[in-house]
């Protein structure tokens, strides 16, 4: 069987003011086709105002699985959250 077209990951901005969000992937022979196909596959109902496509093999990911020790250091730093601090209820605008 001949080689598959490269895989692209598709990111869509739902409307102005929002981030591009990953919506899925598709195969295309090149970048321009990838955008055209992304429009047809992922935005048939006004789901987006802007599309990013990026070749899946160009993405660098944090680790081989989703339970990454990379994130362990942030697990025990509760003091980084506003709820860590007790403020009397009658102090306004806090």
């Amino acid at each position: 069987m001949k080689r598959d077209w490269p895989l692209y990951e598709v990111f869509i901005r739902g409307k102005r003011g929002l981030n591009h969000v990953h919506v899925g992937s598709l195969h295309a022979p090149d970048d321009a086709f990838a955008v055209a196909h992304a429009r047809d596959v992922y935005t048939r109902r006004n789901e987006g105002v802007s599309i990013w496509v990026v070749r899946a093999d160009a993405i660098t990911a944090s680790s081989p699985d989703e339970k990454d020790p990379l994130f362990a250091p942030s697990g025990d730093k509760v003091y980084r959250h506003p709820t860590f601090y007790e403020i009397p209820a009658d102090v306004p605008h806090m």
Binding site: D4, W5, G24, P29, D30
Partner: protein, 324 residues
């Protein structure tokens, strides 16, 4: 902090996997998963994808003969959605380590199946409405629980699909309602179509639970959420009041409300027929496969031209870089 790059033993991996599934958390592509889970999912998602692709044919048959521009535009959009559903699902399957070419080949060679319902012909225009109402309706019953399936990419594809299926079912029901407000001949067309599609629709949920050997493991893995019979019951209960609103009769003499159970009792489809259709002896199996193969072959030059165009541009870009 340092981490040792040693693979944990299989038992630990299995335990982590089991815990994730037990917590109704999602398994993601790069997580460890049992080989059986991966294989079962690839088959399930691929066969679902094939069904969406083959599912374009019965209704596609009526696009050129739709009775108005409005109906034609609706039908085109619906059939185009089904192509989209196939693509979402193929992408989800590929995250499990199978390639698109392999998946296409599995369909074209007949080594993997698609839903038996698409092996029935669409003999009248009313079938377009009946398919939207009953077939997409049954698909919705099957698919809504899969939005919570344990495999992340599959669940996300299902959420996207379910959003679009609602349009499919409603356009079908509205089409039938319009015909039921028409002439006696049109009403008869609707009834005749419902008579043909009712039993095959019930078969879409698969064989009865006591004859569905793989269900238990799939339930434990969270890639199946309800039993075949549960979903079939749900579909019947949902459909009866819709049939009443439409003014059609569902062709089952045993169909009646059971006060005690709080559900409808109903007759069993002809399971021998389902087996025959799955084995390849349905009314349209050969035609559907021949059409799919031809469409794939007829499209080959487009794919080749696109690849050649991409290769030429790439070569030109590389050459330009070299000149700088």
């Amino acid at each position: 902090m340092t981490t040792t790059p040693v693979e944990p033993p299989e038992a630990a991996l299995q335990a982590a996997f089991d815990a994730t599934v037990a917590h109704h958390d999602r398994i993601e592509p790069r997580d460890w998963m049992p080989e059986g889970y991966r294989k079962t999912l690839i088959r399930q998602i691929a066969q679902h994808a094939h069904s969406e692709i083959i599912g374009m044919q019965p209704e596609g048959n009526w696009i050129s003969r739709a009775p108005s521009l409005r109906r034609k535009a609706i039908l085109l959009a619906k059939v185009q959605d089904e192509a989209g559903h196939g693509l979402y699902l193929y992408s989800a399957a590929e995250t499990l380590g199978v390639s698109r070419d392999e998946l296409v080949e599995l369909l074209l060679s007949g080594r993997q199946k698609y839903s038996s319902i698409f092996n029935y012909p669409t003999l009248s225009y009313a079938d377009v409405g009946t398919i939207g109402w009953l077939v997409d309706g049954a698909a919705i019953c099957n698919q809504v629980p899969l939005c919570r399936t344990s495999y992340g990419p599959y669940g996300r594809a299902m959420i996207r699909i379910c959003k679009e299926e609602s349009f499919h079912q409603r356009q079908g029901f509205e089409l039938l309602m319009t015909m039921m407000r028409g002439t006696g001949e049109q009403r008869a067309m609707v009834q005749e179509s419902v008579d043909r599609f009712w039993w095959p629709s019930l078969m879409m949920f698969g064989p009865p639970d006591d004859k569905s050997p793989n269900s238990e493991q799939s339930m434990a893995w969270g890639i199946k959420r309800n039993s075949n019979d549960e979903l079939r019951q749900k579909f019947v209960d949902m459909t009866v009041p819709q049939a009443k609103a439409l003014g059609v009769t569902l062709p089952d003499p045993e169909l009646r409300w059971n006060e005690e159970r709080g559900h409808h009792d109903f007759g069993q489809p002809d399971w021998a027929e389902l087996t025959a259709v799955i084995r390849g002896n349905g009314p349209c199996n050969a035609q559907r496969m021949a059409h799919r193969r031809k469409a794939h072959e007829d499209g080959a030059w487009v794919r080749e031209a696109a690849s050649a165009f991409a290769a030429r541009n790439e070569a030109a870009r590389t050459a330009a870089k070299g000149l700088k």
